[in-house]
């Protein structure tokens, strides 16, 4: 199978990750398009026999970071992105909708780690290599993402120790 075939085969996975990462469909497909274009231009850097999927996700990560920088010059990635509006799908339960919204409110670098590990089934080590960060950073970002999600979904401030009273 050629690299082109393999890349085409990865498109659905790339789109799923992009949708979770970028929020709405149009932004996600833009992200995928730019990723494919860049991947093709940089294909000579891909080492045959290594994991093409991880390599493609690395390319997407770089494109995503560049897009964030371009759209918000001078703004640190650590900041929360403003909530993106998206029409609710009828079939989603309230909980899922809340979760979707909470994911999109995570800081981008935490969102990436969470999605790679939890949605894309990467090990901490794979996620670390994909994002080009130490494995310890993967673990701390994941922990912070989880804490943020918990607080957003329960309505408590981060670090809040109170339990929800029903």
């Amino acid at each position: 199978m050629s690299d082109a075939d393999s890349i085409v085969g990865l498109i659905p996975r790339l789109r799923r990750y992009a949708r979770a990462l970028a929020g709405d469909k149009a932004a996600a497909d833009d992200l995928v398009q730019d990723t494919l274009e860049r991947a093709w231009a940089k294909l000579h850097l891909y080492r045959r026999g290594t994991d093409l999927r991880a390599w493609m996700f690395t390319v997407m990560h770089n494109v995503f970071v560049n897009q964030l920088r371009a759209s918000r010059p001078g703004v640190q990635l650590e900041d929360d992105l403003p909530e993106l509006s998206r029409p609710a799908r009828e079939t989603e339960s309230l909980e899922l909708r809340d979760l979707d919204r909470a994911i999109r409110r995570l800081p981008p670098e935490q969102r990436e780690v969470l999605l790679l590990v939890v949605l894309e089934d990467m090990s901490y080590d794979e996620a670390a290599r994909t994002l080009g960060i130490p494995i310890g950073t993967v673990m701390s970002r994941l922990a912070r993402a989880r804490e943020k999600l918990r607080s957003m979904l329960s309505g408590l401030p981060p670090g809040g120790k109170l339990h929800v009273i029903k």
Partner: protein
């Protein structure tokens, strides 16, 4: 989920929820534009431009080479030189191709009548090319008002339901011949060319530029047998 996270009940629940949320994306049809980029890394029009520069090899070149060897090919022209009938063709495509009940005025079951009728109204012999070779069957056609008298509009459909339309006008004035030109009008892709007294525009909103070119190539070859 990653091996380290497998034993964590919270991450497991989160994973299930994320898959419920985002897995439907896996089943969505991949847009043709993305598929094309996956193949060549560039948007279709850029692939075309590369091929024109004889830089790139690949799918496109084979289909195109015939055209670049075509002796009648004039130098490239600016977009503003696009004849008005191209826009009309794109509008006609956008108007009639989504029609479920009345996509055509005369169906392919009366093809001989359709062709005779349109030829009579256009005042020149019109042909409905056979496009089964590239996966498209004639649905029928209709007569439309053009900027210079009546025009013929043929509609074709493939098995998957995508449609292409061929707009044929007689070109009493400005009948400068051209090789294939490409233009987009909104989401409608159009290949057009002028050949003797006819102007042709082949439109689609659904298929890739490369494939539309292949269909255009088939149309051209039938109308101009060597």
């Amino acid at each position: 989920m990653g091996t380290e996270a497998k034993d964590d009940p919270e991450l497991k629940a989160l994973s299930e929820a994320l898959h419920q949320l985002y897995d439907p994306v896996l089943d969505e049809p991949v847009p043709q534009s993305l598929r094309a980029r996956g193949m060549t890394g560039v948007a279709p029009w850029r692939a075309y431009a590369r091929a024109a520069g004889l830089v790139a090899v690949g799918l496109v070149v084979g289909a195109l080479s015939g055209w670049f060897l075509h002796p009648a090919q004039p130098p490239a022209v600016a977009q503003s030189d696009t004849p008005p009938f191209v826009k009309r063709a794109a509008v006609a495509h956008a108007t009639y191709s989504p029609e479920v009940r009345h996509p055509v005025e005369v169906g392919a079951d009366q093809e001989a009548h359709l062709v005779a009728w349109l030829s009579k109204r256009l005042g020149a012999p019109v042909k409905a090319p056979k496009l089964e070779g590239v996966g498209y069957s004639l649905m029928g056609g209709r007569l439309l008002p053009g900027d210079n008298g009546p025009v013929a509009h043929f509609m074709y459909q493939c098995k998957q339901g995508t449609r292409v339309t061929l707009y044929v006008r007689t070109d009493a004035t400005n009948n400068r011949e051209t090789a294939f030109r490409y233009q987009t009008e909104g989401n409608v892709k159009v290949f057009y060319w002028i050949d003797r007294k006819f102007g042709y525009a082949l439109s689609s909103a659904d298929i890739s530029k490369e494939y539309l070119l292949k269909v255009a190539d088939s149309v051209y070859r039938q109308l101009n047998p060597e």
